[in-house]
Amino acid sequence: MSAVDNRGGGSPESRLLEVEDLHVEFRSKDGTANVLNGVSYHVDAGETLAVLGESGSGKSVTAQTVMGILDTPPGFVTGGSIRYRGEEMLTAGEERRRELRGENMAMIFQDALSALNPVFTVGFQIAEQFRFRRGMSRKDAMAKAAEMLDMVKIPNAKQRVKEFPHQFSGGMRQRVMIAMSLALDPDLLIADEPTTALDVTVQAQIMDLLDELRRERGMGLILITHDLGVVAEVADRISVMYAGRVVEKADAHSLYKQPGHPYTEGLMESIPRLDMKGHELASIQGLPPTLTNIPPGCPFHPRCHRAEDACREKVPEFHDLGLGRASACHFAEELISRD
């Protein structure tokens, strides 16, 4: 896989995180599912990488593997490399990885309610990190926790540290999660569908907050989502995933202007736009493949209206389209040069 991507400047060494040709399979008594089949992406300090994909595309599994929190079994890493600031993660010991989690990389989840422990106050849960990893006293840690809540713009932070997760609304809970994940000042934040469970008006607030925090702290942000609208508003670069592969990578502007992969194109035409009254939506026919039985050739070919014999036989290589764009489609150049 000749992943070419020079946008985002820096040399490979200066990269915050680089995932290369990552392979993960899920084994169960019913068989082996090839969940990741060579995923490569990278993120630099201060930028937002959006990982776009539907359920089963492997976007969350990639993130969990990066964080080292993939459940094994059923998940097994069978190949590839994950480098954080040049340091290989897959061969690093569990001790080292635990050290990096929280301190250097952190993750927030879709379901903030189940990610918080219901029997402790939110202040206690945030303060815990300061106490055990920074050796602060209980009182100092609590004060620091209130500061964190204030940072994520929760009103009355000083009072609210003493409250329990269920006393917070959905949006406020997600803010608590963000405060908790940023407590130890990581430089890489992975947000896995952070706003999917929230209402649009609240979603907008949370996305604004994440964007602001990224800018202030110069963090690298990996935003995992299925929402093309959210991506368009905040992403610098985008990796589109399908059936455990990255099928297209590009900067946000050029991707939306002219998708370089039929899947991306199909996705864009599938969304009912707010500014257009609809007619028939151009949906993608069929279903994503089951991961135990990925079709030969291009995994998208059974659903692709351009598919030809070549697509059924040969897995498409990444076609470098210049300016850091690349697409895993035999017809990438053609697609991109259309008007």
């Binding site: 539907e54 359920s55 609304s169 959905g170 949006g171 406020m172 209402d199 649009v200 008006t201 609240v202 979603q203 907008a204 607030q205 996305m207 604004d208 299925h226 929402d227 093309l228 609208g229 959210v230 991506v231 368009a232 508003e233 992403a235 946000a252 502007h253 939306y256 202007k257 199909g266 996705l267 864009m268 035409e269 599938s270 969304i271 009912p272 736009r273 707010l274 500014d275 009254k277 609809g278 028939e280 939506l281 151009a282 949906s283 993608i284 026919q285 279903l287 994503p288």
Partner: protein, 351 residues
């Protein structure tokens, strides 16, 4: 759109549903009410889609339950083809069930996992045996599966053998079985992936024109609602705050909440980034157990004044600035009802 043609198929007036909040285990005490739906009125015409849009807790799903008579209304009336829906009992109610059906949100819990697809889609015929004689049922079920785009030979399969989108099609087939006139769609596509969502929406559109169905389409996704709806009602904390045609709501919104809602929806076009005029609401939706006095939106509204706390704005056609005008004066094509003392059109919020 069959605007104002004949009598509406469904007329809902001042519909109210309050859920008591109780305390205690043995001796239950009512300590308050959740005002899930608090005075909602609308008409639904034949062959038309009425979109109901709002955030979680606005009461849109309760509205669906009450209309389907899964919950008893606290007060209010609804006429289905001119007859009082809520007074129906026994045989009349059974008849009504044939005319009104529902498609539910979650394709994973809306199908009984221990029944085959044939049983699930055939259940309406077992409950209403007069619709199809026994010998014909298998054929009818297969016909229905074919209509919704599934393989008719899959009648012996179980729900877990299907993907989310296919399950939603099974749910639609079940709702279609009795040839209803009205289908209430309660968030039918919100649990589906984007590419699958489009397929199901297209299917709903095709079925509507093929069978002359009327839809009440409930969703939180404004894009989805616009795509399918002829008219749209925006709900906030149990009340309709603005109603109008799809064009009136999306291109000429008057209520601040509608404007904020539209502005919050991310637009899949990076070139508009930072160029759109954004309205960012602060805070979350208040609890429907204890809604604000007067206008319910006032706690999050940038226009709110003392008047808003004191007086509840009615859903009526208003002039710029919020003054109520009579129906006969509304010659303007964009005039539509909104419940705000300071209603004012704010064009081009949609990008």
């Amino acid at each position: 759109m069959t605007e104002a043609s004949a009598e509406p198929i469904l007329q809902v007036r001042d519909l109210v549903k309050h859920f008591p909040v109780t305390q205690g285990v043995v001796f239950k005490r009512t300590i308050g009410h959740v005002r899930a739906v608090d005075g909602v009125s609308f008409d639904l015409h034949k062959g038309e889609t009425l979109g109901v849009v709002g955030e979680s807790g606005c009461g849109k799903s309760t509205l669906a339950q009450v209309l389907m008579r899964l919950e008893q209304p606290t007060s209010g009336t609804a006429l289905f083809e001119g007859e009082d829906m809520f007074a129906k009992k026994g045989a009349d109610l059974r008849r009504l069930r044939r005319d009104m059906q529902i498609v539910l949100q979650d394709p994973y819990t809306s199908l009984n996992p221990r029944k085959t697809v044939g049983d699930i889609v055939g259940e309406p015929f077992e409950i209403h045996p007069e619709v199809a004689p026994k010998g014909e049922r298998q054929r009818k079920v297969q016909e229905l599966l074919d209509i919704v785009g599934l393989n008719p030979e899959h009648v012996h399969r179980y729900p877990h053998q299907f993907s989310g989108g296919q399950r939603q099609r099974i749910g639609i087939a079940r709702a279609l079985a009795l040839k209803p006139k009205v289908i209430v769609c309660d968030e039918p596509v919100s649990a589906l992936d984007v590419s699958i969502q489009a397929q199901v929406m297209n299917l709903l559109g095709e079925l509507q024109s093929e069978f002359g169905l009327s839809y009440i389409f409930i969703a939180h996704d404004l894009g989805v609602v616009r795509h399918l709806s002829d008219r749209v009602g925006v709900m906030y904390l149990g009340k309709m705050v603005e109603t109008g045609t799809e064009d009136q709501i999306y291109e000429h919104p008057q209520h601040p909440y509608t404007q904020a809602l539209l502005s919050s929806v991310p637009v899949p076009d990076p070139t508009l980034r930072d160029r759109r005029e954004m309205i960012r609401l602060s805070g979350d939706v208040p609890s429907p157990a204890n809604p604000p006095s007067g206008c319910r939106f006032r706690t999050r509204c940038w226009k709110a004044t003392d008047l808003c706390a004191e007086q509840q704005p009615a859903l009526e056609i208003r002039r710029e600035g919020g003054q109520v005008v009579g129906d006969e004066l509304s010659t303007d094509g964009n005039a539509h009802p909104s419940a705000c003392h300071f209603a004012e059109e704010r064009p081009h919020v949609v990008a």
